[in-house]
């Protein structure tokens, strides 16, 4: 992280809220609770004049949170041109809605266990998230908001770290599921586990009050029948799934990572959901290269 991006923290807020700002310890509860800072942001957005200073001082109480938010506000792939130096500016530039999504993503990563395995997982998720946001901007598909696409990329697989902590053999299951070209990813998981990461992730997202389309997309993102269904109430969530799946495919191609079988199974359905034609693909492949390779 670039240290110059961190603004000097404001005087610590004496309110008791600060201590409970990030209840990031997982205790023995399986999933991290919804961060209280998100409630504070929601509270402010309901006011006619949101108190940015109050939010900034709450966020500044956590150095990694404030640094992470400023970094996101400065990310060229998050659509911002302006150079941001403080949390207050970041909130202004991003807007409270986008900022709250960005914060949810940062806190999610902080709240789940850290290991070299998890670092690779989060690195991949972050790339998929950025590229999903970028694609949503480029494609301008109805109902697909870039900030939703970005958040979805971060939360899509959040069931995986939770299951990794609970089932010692889950890593092997993932390996098998990633390379199965016939059965859906979750079907393979369910041959070994009583549930699957999409369901666990959906429950986490629901308990964090993420928008309904995001929760639905997390639940269905490996489900071909759902992706191909014509139900109008699934359209937005299906497009979220499609854009992230496409982003993942691009990341794997550009970074020369091992190819999973998801694109083989779901690719055609995803391209239809995004109204993409063959000739647009070549263009997107080349244009997305710097976004996929960027480190932040």
């Amino acid at each position: 992280m670039n240290s110059e991006m961190i603004d000097s923290p404001a005087a610590p807020d004496p309110s008791p809220n600060v201590e409970s700002l990030l209840e990031q310890t997982m205790l023995d509860i399986g999933i991290p609770p919804r961060p209280r800072i998100l409630d504070s942001i929601t509270e402010e957005t309901r006011k006619p004049e949101p108190d940015y200073n109050r939010l900034a001082s709450l966020i500044n109480a956590d150095v990694s949170l404030s640094a992470g938010l400023i970094k996101i506000a400065n990310s060229p792939y998050f659509g911002m041109r302006q150079r941001v130096r403080s949390v207050n500016e970041a909130l202004m530039v991003l807007g409270l809605n986008v900022a709250s999504r960005a914060i949810a993503g940062i806190v999610l990563r902080q709240a789940l266990p850290i290991s070299p395995r998890m670092e690779r997982f989060w690195d991949a998720s972050a790339r998929v998230a950025r590229l999903s946001g970028w694609l949503a901007q480029q494609l301008r598909v109805a109902g697909l908001q870039p900030e939703d696409a970005y958040t979805f990329g971060l939360f899509r697989d959040c069931g995986i770290p939770i299951l990794l902590t609970r089932f010692p053999n889950y890593d092997e299951v993932l390996g098998v599921a990633n390379h199965n070209a016939r059965h859906s990813f979750t079907t393979v998981e369910e041959t070994v586990l009583p549930t699957n990461h999409a369901m666990v992730g959906c429950l986490l997202a629901q308990s964090w009050w993420l928008p309904d389309e995001l929760c639905q997309a997390i639940r269905n993102h490996h489900d071909l029948a759902k992706l191909e269904s014509a139900e109008p109430q699934l359209l937005v969530s299906n497009r979220l799934s499609a854009v992230a799946q496409f982003a993942e495919h691009l990341v794997q191609q550009h970074l020369g990572l091992s190819q999973t079988q998801e694109w083989t199974k779901l690719g055609p359905a995803c391209l239809r959901l995004l109204d993409l034609e063959e000739q647009q693909l070549a263009e997107l492949y080349s244009e997305s290269l710097p976004v996929a390779k960027a480190d932040d």
Partner: protein, 209 residues
């Protein structure tokens, strides 16, 4: 489950049908599984390991994903399954399909217990009762509120209590509001009594206070 909106409590009889119509009922159900499991976990953490009952509707049990969601909720809350009881409503008796039966078996396999709610009214059917692997039978309040005067109701209470016992279930009477009713129920041999005589529905903070 209750739903509070603008400080007004909306009873499940009002909001569940709306959820069923809008197709939200499956995920509302999954949400309530997780919330119930988290409540049980928090109560346990606070030093009150108490069984938490979660209402489950027929619409949830006909979904092939039900048991997956239940497992996911138990994993997410990291709660011992013994602390969770699923309350099945009598509408379940309408037809107990292969999917429903599999869901019930898979649910039992997680270690949770099942109870049958509102037994004796609506679709409750003895032929299906034997196929539901529940450990608790809750007798509908309509038999209780007319006690102790209504002797015919009392006869039903006694018979169902015996039936439940023979099927290996504990029998609970719902809707007990006064001491005369309680005495009649105890005489009839029920294993437990529920109702406003003990407590009204309340938020968790009040329960812990």
């Amino acid at each position: 489950m209750r739903c509070a909106f603008d400080h007004v409590q909306i009873p499940p009889g009002k909001f569940i049908p709306v959820a069923e119509k809008t197709g939200l009922v499956t995920r509302l159900g999954e949400w309530s599984l997780l919330q119930g499991a988290l409540q049980a976990r928090y109560l346990q953490e606070a030093g009150f390991p108490t069984k938490v009952a979660i209402n489950v509707s027929r619409a949830q049990l006909v979904s092939p994903k039900f048991a997956k969601a239940l497992h996911a909720a138990l994993i997410c809350a990291n709660v011992p399954p013994e602390l969770i009881e699923l309350e099945l409503t009598e509408s379940l008796f309408m037809d107990i399909s292969e999917t429903v039966q599999k869901n019930l078996r898979d649910s039992i396999d997680t270690g949770i217990t099942l109870s049958i709610d509102d037994f004796g009214t609506g679709y409750s059917c003895l032929a299906n009762l034997k196929d539901i692997p529940a450990s608790k039978l809750k007798l509908d309040r309509s038999f209780v509120t007319v006690l102790p005067e209504d002797e015919r109701a009392l006869a039903v209470v006694k018979a169902v209590t015996q039936l439940g016992r023979d099927l290996g279930m504990t029998v609970v009477a719902e809707g007990c509001e006064n001491t005369q009713q309680r005495e009649a129920l105890l005489d009839a041999g029920v294993d437990a009594i529920q109702g406003f005589i003990y407590a009204r529905p309340m938020p968790e903070q009040q329960l812990l206070a």
